[in-house]
Homo-oligomer: 245 residues x 2
């Protein structure tokens, strides 16, 4: 069974996840925000790669039940209902809604990974939910670090490394790629998530924009055990095994 | 002073090295082969991005003094004089020659980095020569790991990390990007170069092709203190400071 980590989105091409269980990691902040949207009752999130795609898709959806969310350069986009801060996705705003979402990193990674057999969104807040899913079954696994503008980001790679640790605990025979070996080292070196986010370049950038509170939310390990699952281009919360009956 | 490591070539865009001192790392094998070509008397190496570019450029050069070198999928290209094994670049073949060279990783990285203010080629065999150059002067530094087909490769990132270590010894105030922090960890974890090459995915692939001997050559730290310098698209060995008079 193979376990590959793609340390930056630039390394990852559309076919790379084909036939595999894949998880896109974007700690700061898209995946965390998507988890919070579901925690507060959103029905689905539709990830798109650009503002243009969002604008084109919007008229095909029920306008009253749809919100536009996302960011460019970390900031809310003009004319959008929501930015990319998990704190904005409050219950009174998002309950029952569809969120049409575009961000610089996470949503692009989710769109590019659509060839996977199963596609998940992960981060620190839903870490155990993702880890439990990855350690079940025998599918090869691809972990795609969304990073920052295609480049490597410490926090996503460290989160990927923690998933590699969990998978190795269950299966010592895993075939790791070079990216997985490197991610493992990062997880060992930076075990304290809040500190890690303050060291990372993206974390520093968000602090400079005034998003310190977001860093606290994004670093709360296992604070929201929701597993976002991408099906036919739409993200929905995966049903828990015992609710499938 | 900034020190950036690009962990894979996919992350690196042409403008990223502008105005900086840049070094392309390709341990397996292009940079090692280039160093060996110079060690054995080659006059210059012209790196190109594809077999097509090599074929187009060849008629503009002195045919008798030019050799075609390089690989595709690790193997010598049909009709080429030399492959990409440092062992092939013997004195009786390469002395006084120009090598027109195309490879899957290193030469592409060298071509893409041409916007740098100064551009070097580095690997383990010429480690100290590169390190001495990088620790002199005050230019921002970009270290570009050539990797394998655009993806992350353990050996290049570990070599980059060793350069980061050397630079930090001289200047503790360096501003490191996330890639440099990760490369540092790899250098700490994998200090024994021959073993590292056997763990790496690219190393395993070369062993499967029968290139075990190349791995031994490529892991010999400081076995050839030559500093390949790219000037106007051509690589020449940099003159040693005391021969500049």
């Amino acid at each position: 069974m193979k376990l590959e980590v793609f340390l930056s989105l630039s390394e990852f091409e559309e076919g790379d996840a084909k036939g595999k269980r894949a998880v896109v990691i974007d700690v700061l902040r898209a995946c965390t925000t998507i988890v919070y949207a579901f925690k507060n009752g959103a029905e689905r999130v539709i990830p798109v790669s650009s503002v243009e795609d969002a604008t084109r898709l919007l008229p095909t959806l029920d306008k009253k039940a749809t919100l536009l969310g996302g960011e460019s350069e970390g900031k809310k986009i003009d004319g959008f209902d929501l930015g990319n801060s998990p704190l904005e996705y409050k219950r009174q705003k998002v309950k029952g809604k569809t969120i049409l979402m575009t961000t610089t990193n996470g949503t692009i990674a989710l769109v590019r990974s659509k060839g996977a057999k199963e596609l998940l969104a992960g981060c620190f807040v839903n870490f155990d939910a993702v880890s439990d899913r990855l350690t079940s079954g025998r599918l090869d696994v691809a972990i795609i670090c969304a990073g920052k503008k295609g480049e490597f980001a410490l926090e996503d790679a460290a989160c990927a490394g923690m998933l590699v640790q969990k998978m190795l605990e269950k299966n010592t025979e895993l075939q790791l790629n070079d990216g997985a070996l490197a991610a493992l080292l990062l997880a060992e070196k930076y075990p304290v998530v809040p500190e890690l986010l303050e060291i990372s370049s993206h974390g520093k950038y968000l602090i400079s924009l005034g998003f310190e509170k977001d860093l606290k939310i994004c670093s709360k390990l296992n604070s929201a055990q929701i597993l976002p699952l991408v099906e036919d281009g739409r993200i929905v919360p995966a049903q828990k095994p015992d609710s499938k009956k």
